[in-house]
Structure formats: structure tokens, C-alpha cells
């Protein structure tokens, strides 16, 4: 196991280097740059822009810029944002809390609701509930998050006035109830697609398990249905869910990107969008590396966890 983990870690490091090089190249080779925002509005001449570009080190050859950035990153210096001069790690950490709050809440909702729908759908296969759940999941997966977010705001904020139309908190309040009040709508919107996915995966997994011989044997032995489900079926059906959970980070981050924009949620998704828009290279690279690391860690954790909970799996 230890050898396997070390191997995977070594692969992850190589992957991260490749990701950083490709990401850096794509980002810098894309047209435009961090000074474009000033060209149209700040009355800066080309000379001014060239001067600032030189001061930021953007006039150097790309490989030199990359090696410089990479070398400093290895020492823990991820650079400074072009926008506000803050250290990249500080910028990321200042947005991370909001995203984790949103993602964790959405995941909890999605797992609980999705698993419940999936299990019930599998147990009542082809029933009205199962059909409605299937159609609902298709709709949920098809609805653009942006549109659903705006509809949610229109219904619950503008029309009914039950929920705030965005923001993480009321400035000056920040109580737990206030935070919760603001969290409901974006978490529900972000959870929608996740719930559908978890529901579909859970249904498939559960169907596969309840048709196994050992379940039939348990029933033949007269074991109560609830015990068959909880002790035998559910535990085995949840195994594939570990892999699903491990690979959820990129999907969640993508969803958060949109939900955070619609609900003016100051998280990583919006930071990433803003930074791309401004061509804030150090921040974009920071988020890229952070996200890639999270995805690799998630994937590795899922594999290890799978091996731990399922004795039939042996990593090598």
C-alpha cells in the first residue's frame, strides 16, 4: 500500500509539472494581457503600458518567466496578484472559505437527497416515483445553472421575498442565521445537478447490488427487508460512490463558477472568472495548481479509501 501511495504521489508531481507548463503556456499565449483593461479607460499610452509591462517582468521570454514562476512557487512564493498586489496564496485563501461553505452544503444536500432518491428509485423500479425521479434528473442535468439561478432569484427573492437575491451575508450582520439565509438559494442551485448525478449513480449501483445472489439468499433466509437493505445492499452499493465523490471536485468547481456569479458569492469560482478576464496570470496559475492538486488528491483518496473499505480490492 505504502509503495502504491508513493508511486501515485510521484505520478501526481509529474502531472502537476505538466499541468503547470501547459497552463502557463496557454494562458500567456492567449491574446490580450493584464494591461488591456487600462488601455481603454485609464488613458495610458503605449509607452506607459510598456513601462508597466517591464516592471511586471512581462517583457521577458516566456520560458524565463515560467522558470522564474516555477522556481518561486517551489519556495512557497506563488507570486502577487496583478490586480491588488496581494500574495496569491492569500488571495486564494480569502476566497476558499466561501467556496468550501457553498460546496460542502451543496454536497451534503446532494448526497442525502440523491442517495435517497436513488435507493428508492431502485427499490421501486419503474414505479411512478422512479419515472418522475428519472425525468426530474434529466431536466436537472439539462437546465443551465445560470438560468436556474436567475429563476430562483426571481421566484424566491423578487416575487416572494423569502430569500436574499444574493451575497454571502448582510454587511454588518454576519450572524449564523443571516449566513444560513443567504446560503439556501445558491446551495440549492449548486446542489441540483449534483443531486441528479448522485441519484442516477446510486440507483444504478443499488440495482446492481439488489440483484446479486447473496441478497436473494438473505431474503430466502427470511431476513427482514430493512436489514437486507442497510447491512448488505447499501454498504456494497455505496462503494462505487466513493469514486464518484472523489471525482466531484472539478464538477463542483464548475458549478460553483456559475452559482457564485449569479448569487454574487465571493468564492473561488468567481475569483477564477475574474482573474481570467483580467489576465491576472499569477492568480489564475495559483487556482489552476490548487485545483489540479485537489483533483489529484481526491482521486488518490478515493482509490485508497476504496481499497480500505473493500477487502477484495488490492492495490499494487
Amino acid at each position: 500500500m505504502a509503495r502504491y501511495v508513493l508511486n501515485r504521489l510521484a505520478q501526481a508531481v509529474i502531472l502537476l509539472v505538466i499541468v503547470s507548463a501547459i497552463g502557463f503556456a496557454l494562458l500567456h499565449l492567449a491574446p490580450g494581457g493584464p494591461l488591456s483593461q487600462f488601455a481603454a479607460s485609464a488613458q495610458m499610452t503605449q509607452e506607459d503600458l510598456d513601462r508597466v509591462s517591464k516592471q511586471l517582468g512581462l517583457d521577458r521570454p516566456l520560458p524565463i518567466q515560467y522558470l522564474d514562476w516555477f522556481g518561486r512557487m517551489l519556495k512557497g512564493d506563488w507570486g502577487k496578484s496583478y490586480r491588488d498586489g496581494e500574495a496569491v496564496l492569500s488571495v486564494i485563501s480569502s476566497h476558499l472559505g466561501a467556496t468550501l461553505e457553498l460546496m460542502t452544503t451543496a454536497t451534503i444536500i446532494a448526497v442525502l437527497l440523491g442517495c435517497w432518491i436513488g435507493i428508492l428509485g431502485a427499490l421501486r423500479r419503474y414505479s411512478l416515483f422512479d419515472s418522475l425521479a428519472t425525468v426530474g434528473a434529466m431536466i436537472a442535468l439539462s437546465i443551465p445553472t445560470f438560468w436556474f439561478g436567475l429563476v430562483t432569484i426571481y421566484v424566491f427573492s423578487v416575487t416572494l421575498g423569502w430569500l436574499p437575491a444574493g451575497n454571502r451575508e448582510t454587511v454588518g450582520d454576519g450572524s449564523f442565521l443571516d449566513l444560513l439565509h443567504h446560503l439556501i438559494a445558491p446551495a440549492m442551485v449548486l446542489a441540483l445537478v449534483e443531486t441528479a448525478m448522485w441519484g442516477r449513480f446510486m440507483r444504478s449501483s443499488m440495482l446492481e447490488v439488489i440483484n446479486q445472489d447473496y441478497i436473494r439468499t438473505a431474503r430466502a433466509k427470511g431476513m427482514p427487508e430493512w436489514r437486507i437493505l442497510t447491512v448488505h445492499a447499501l454498504r456494497n452499493a455505496l462503494l462505487p460512490m466513493i469514486t464518484v465523490a472523489g471525482l466531484q471536485f472539478p464538477t463542483l468547481l464548475g458549478g460553483a463558477l456559475v452559482a457564485e456569479t449569479v448569487f454574487t458569492w465571493p468564492g473561488m469560482g468567481r475569483l477564477f472568472l475574474d482573474s481570467i478576464g483580467y489576465r491576472d496570470y499569477p492568480v489564475v496559475m495559483g487556482i489552476l495548481m490548487f485545483s489540479a492538486t485537489m483533483v489529484l488528491i481526491g482521486s488518490l483518496m478515493a482509490d485508497i479509501l476504496y481499497a480500505v473499505v473493500d477487502p477484495r480490492i488490492r492495490v499494487s
Binding site: 506607459d48 508597466v52 516592471q55 489576465r279
Partner: protein, 563 residues
């Protein structure tokens, strides 16, 4: 509290420290853009209340871009300026009526008061003695000298040095007086200084790197509001500076709330979560509905920006003035204004805002006349080919038009232009790009055929457009400026040089009037309309005064209060 500086009085009442129009005629110290307030509250008007004795309540101002640059001398955009106006102070500012009003200076320098030499080379500025930085340190002439020196420091990442680079021999005569000499007379400098914020010497002289220090993210100024907190990506909180030397502030807190999506921004205004919709305001398609909202006031005011089609004058067909005239005649401007912009903007023929003192009346008015456009092209030898597209000497009348991708109104404008120009045998293709791309080298180095863009041509409130239309300001030819149109005219260069040397406002008005006629005649740009912004204010919030002479209408939040 400082005295209200007031407006030009009918009876000629003299306000100390403020040059009146006559004084400007006599000495002109660069002139401010007088303008008639075009902001109109569509909701019921309230009876103005009385400001409270001490700051009360808070204002949440929504912005669609996030302010991130808090050092007011560094490269920033309009939303950053919204914060600078609250935290810092200039020597003087320009009010909505177009008058220079002293701020850190005790009076605006003029020839009459001895602040300006007749040749415009010597400046003597008297400063207020009662100004304190937010940390309690006294503001002095040393801070002004430090700020001007910092701007000219080659290691400092300054926004630009236009005008400032001419300042020489700065002398601190007394804590409340500073003198300097200009290398050459430059009348727009008065206006440039009205948008130059002074920074604290006692803090910034100690930093090792002028481009990066704690000050950059927790600035200390002399403005009406002190830095409170910043939650990146969410909001900036400023607290009232009770020791402020001017009028106000009347609210305890100002919160700049970042809401990137304009639809969401409007929704939050509608639901009452924000008190004021700052930049970029309310989308035109929401304005009619917004007017009907209870408890909300909507102001539609002109901005200094001129929306226009920027032709690259070095690109094939655009080099021919006849082509530009024909294209201009074929644009259904009124349809663009009415159908796409809900009738909110004003048609214009000039690069100068119509409210400015330098605006030239009586420029030839655009007329939508495709028949005449076709006749012009026929006469000039632009013959239609088999595809319907005109040609002359092997050059086809086809080109691309670019603008910021995602700007719905401009994208719809392009569709109208395609139709309008197809009718005269011109083929236009859309080539849009994200903001970070289009305003980079593509725009700066004139790599475009044509662009739809809104540009504020003014230097503050000054009509000096040397960087925009001067022959030596073409970046693609190594010039210093942003003449991306690649416009070259000996007559324009002469007028520009003359205008920058003149201090008499009447003479300057003539000079810049001639320049406007020339630019209109040459069709260096194809003007569509003067920019506008629709902003919403919650009822009960008093003191909002749109100001065309600043980049942001929340310039005077110190005067805002809840009635």
C-alpha cells in the same frame, strides 16, 4: 467643516478661492467643463432634507467591477476611482457645474491671486492648514511634493505622467505653500490636477518598494472616509472620517459591493439590498421598468464618453474619406439610439461632451441617407461587383468590425450596421473578442479594421486630445499616445499645439472648436452618440449629484445622507 463653495452666482457674488467665469477669460487656468445636469429623477422628487449633525446610517453602493487598486496614482480603472474619491483628496476638484473647487488647496491658483504666472510657467499653490490624514498626522506641502515626485519616479508603476513630467523645481515654501515651475506652458494641467490624488509622505517614504506595501491594501488618505475592511471579491467597507476638512461625511459607512452581473445588480437594487447602482449602472432594457419601482429614483445622465466607430485610417478602403462619409451617411443612427439604447443617449457629432465649455455648436448634422451614400461611392469609382460588394482599384469595400464580446448592445449594433452597409455595397464581418484581448495589442497597435468603442477623449475636463489625434501619438508607428485611428493631419497638430499653450478660455474655445470641425470633416471617427449612464438611488438618500467631469458619479459620497 468647510464652507459650501457654491455655484456661479447671478449677481456676481464672489466666493473666495473660486475663480469665476470672467477670471477664467482673463487668465484661464485650463478650464473646467461646465455642463447642465442631465440627470433626471424619474421617480417623484423628494423635498431635500437637512444633513444630520453627525454621520448616520450606511450606504451600499453596487459596482459591476471590483475595485482592486487603492493607491490612487497607480494604474486603475473607473471603479477604483470611486474608492479614491472617498479615501483621498485632490488639490481641487471640478463640480458638476464645471467649476474648479478648492479641496486640499485653499484657493485655486489664478493669475489674479498670484497662483499662476501670466506665461503659465510658475505655479504657487496655497494649501489648507486644517487637513489631517486619517491617522491624525497633519497634511502639509511636503505631501504634495512627495506625490508629484513619486509620479515622476522611474521605479514607480505610475498610471501616466501626462502633464506631471513638465513639473520642475518643486519648492516647499511653507507647510501650507508649494511652488513649482513648468517646463512648458500646459493649460490642461489644471484639469489633470483635479483628478490627481495626494498621498501621504510620512507613510510612503518609509516603504522599500513604492509598488507594493501595506498601504496599497489599507490606504490612508485625507478624504471623507477612512479605510475599514476589504473582503476580496465581495465588498469594501469605509468608515466616516469625522475629522474631515470639508463638507460631511453624513453617513457612518460606505460599502462598495461587487456584483459582477448587471442583471443581478439590478435585481438586488430592486429588492432593496443595495442603495445605489454605481458603475455600470442599470442596463438600458431595465430603465423603463426601474422608473416604475416604488421607493426608487432613477437618474439618466450623460457621460464624457463618446460611443463611436473607430476606423483604422491606414486600412485599405478607410483611407478614402469618401468611403468614410458614405458609411457614415448609411448608418441609421436613430435606430441604434431608439431601438437598441431605448432612446436614452444623445446623438453627437463631436468628441467633446455637449455639456463642456469647449463643445462646438453647429457641427454638420448626420443624416441617414443611403441614397446619397450610394451616389457618393458611385461617383468616387467604387463599383459594385458580382457579389454586390463594391470595389475600386482591386480593393474591396469589405472589412471587419470588432467590439467586446458579450456586450449585447454593441453586438446588436453590429447587426444593424451589417444591414445598413450592405445596402450601399459594403460588406462588414463581425470579429469580436474578450475585453482582455481586444484592448491589448489589437487595439493599441491598430491591428483592427474598425471597432465600436466608447472613449472619453477629455483630459479630466480639458479638451486637449493630443494623445488621441496627434500625429506623434500613433502607437503603431512608435508614437507616444493612443491615436489608434492613425489619424494624421498637419492642421490638427497645429491646433493641438496651439490649444495646449493657450490659457485664455475664449481663445481655447475657438481653437478646439476649429479642431472639432476638422475632425468632423475628416471623419476621423464616426460618432454614434454621447455616452450615458442610468443609475438608481433608493428614495430618501440625498446628495447624489451626477458629475460629468469625474469618471464616477459617486465622487461626492461625503455629501450623501439619509433624509
Amino acid at each position: 467643516m468647510a464652507d459650501d463653495t457654491g455655484k456661479f452666482s447671478v449677481g456676481g457674488l464672489h466666493h473666495p478661492g473660486i475663480p469665476n467665469r470672467r477670471q477664467f477669460f482673463q487668465l484661464g487656468a485650463g478650464a473646467a467643463a461646465g455642463w447642465t445636469l442631465s440627470g433626471s429623477a424619474f421617480a417623484q422628487t423628494e423635498r431635500p432634507g437637512i444633513p444630520p449633525d453627525k454621520p448616520r446610517g450606511q450606504v451600499i453602493a453596487a459596482l459591476s467591477q471590483e475595485p482592486t487598486v487603492f493607491h490612487p496614482l497607480m494604474p486603475g480603472i473607473e471603479v477604483d476611482q470611486g474608492v479614491w474619491w472617498q479615501v483621498f483628496s485632490p488639490l481641487w476638484f471640478i463640480d458638476p457645474d464645471g467649476k474648479f473647487v478648492p479641496d486640499l488647496a485653499s484657493e485655486v491658483p489664478t493669475v489674479e491671486n498670484g497662483g499662476l504666472s501670466a506665461d503659465g510657467l510658475t505655479w504657487k499653490i496655497k494649501l489648507r492648514k486644517d487637513v489631517k490624514w486619517h491617522d491624525g498626522t497633519a497634511f502639509t506641502a511636503d505631501d504634495v511634493k512627495f506625490s508629484l515626485d513619486l509620479i515622476n519616479n522611474p521605479d514607480f508603476r505610475v498610471r501616466n505622467r501626462v502633464g506631471h513630467s513638465l513639473v520642475k523645481d518643486i519648492t516647499v515654501v511653507a507647510p501650507d505653500e508649494i511652488h513649482w515651475r513648468m517646463e512648458a506652458p500646459y493649460s490642461p494641467y489644471m484639469s489633470i490636477l483635479s483628478l490627481t490624488f495626494i498621498v501621504p509622505k510620512h507613510i510612503l517614504e518609509k516603504v522599500s518598494d513604492p509598488n507594493s506595501s501595506p498601504f496599497h491594501n489599507a490606504p490612508v488618505g485625507t478624504g471623507p472616509f477612512r479605510w475599514g475592511e476589504r473582503v476580496p471579491g465581495d465588498h469594501i467597507l469605509l468608515n466616516a472620517h469625522t475629522g474631515y476638512h470639508g463638507k460631511g461625511p453624513y453617513v457612518e459607512r460606505v460599502v462598495f459591493k461587487y456584483i459582477p452581473d448587471l442583471t443581478v445588480l439590478y435585481t438586488q437594487f430592486r429588492t432593496g439590498q443595495v442603495d445605489y447602482t454605481g458603475l455600470q449602472g442599470i442596463l438600458p432594457n431595465f430603465v423603463q421598468e426601474a422608473k416604475t419601482l416604488k421607493g426608487r429614483k432613477i437618474f439618466v445622465s450623460s457621460t464624457s464618453s463618446v460611443e463611436h466607430i473607430a476606423p483604422n485610417l491606414e486600412f485599405g478602403p478607410f483611407a478614402d474619406r469618401t468611403v468614410r462619409e458614405a458609411l457614415y451617411l448609411a448608418i441609421n443612427k436613430q435606430a441604434i439610439i431608439d431601438a437598441l439604447n431605448y432612446g436614452l443617449p444623445t446623438q453627437t457629432e463631436s468628441f467633446v461632451p455637449q455639456q463642456a465649455w469647449s463643445f462646438q455648436q453647429g457641427l454638420p448634422q448626420h443624416k441617414y441617407d443611403p441614397t446619397r451614400a450610394n451616389a457618393l461611392l458611385d461617383a468616387a469609382g467604387w463599383a459594385r461587383g458580382s457579389s454586390g460588394v463594391r470595389e475600386k482599384g482591386g480593393v474591396k469595400l469589405e472589412f471587419t468590425n470588432s467590439t467586446t464580446a458579450g456586450n449585447a448592445v454593441r453586438e446588436q449594433t453590429q447587426q444593424l450596421l451589417i444591414q445598413d452597409w450592405r445596402a450601399i455595397g459594403a460588406s462588414m464581418r463581425v470579429n469580436n473578442m474578450p475585453a482582455a484581448v481586444i484592448w491589448g495589442d489589437f487595439w493599441q497597435q491598430s491591428k483592427f479594421n474598425s471597432v465600436i468603442v466608447g472613449v472619453n477623449f477629455m483630459l479630466g475636463s480639458d479638451p486637449d486630445v493630443t494623445p488621441r489625434f496627434g500625429s506623434g501619438a500613433i502607437p503603431a508607428k512608435g508614437g507616444r499616445g493612443y491615436n489608434t485611428y492613425q489619424y494624421q493631419s498637419a492642421e490638427a497638430d497645429r491646433l493641438l499645439a496651439q490649444g495646449a499653450r493657450q490659457f485664455d478660455i475664449a481663445q481655447r474655445k475657438t481653437t478646439y472648436g476649429d479642431l472639432q470641425k476638422l475632425i468632423r470633416n475628416d471623419l476621423a471617427i464616426l460618432p454614434l452618440f454621447q455616452g450615458f449612464i442610468a443609475e438608481g438611488v433608493k428614495e430618501g438618500l440625498q446628495g447624489f449629484r451626477p458629475n460629468i467631469n469625474t469618471s464616477t458619479n459617486c465622487w461626492n459620497m461625503r455629501e450623501w445622507y439619509w433624509a
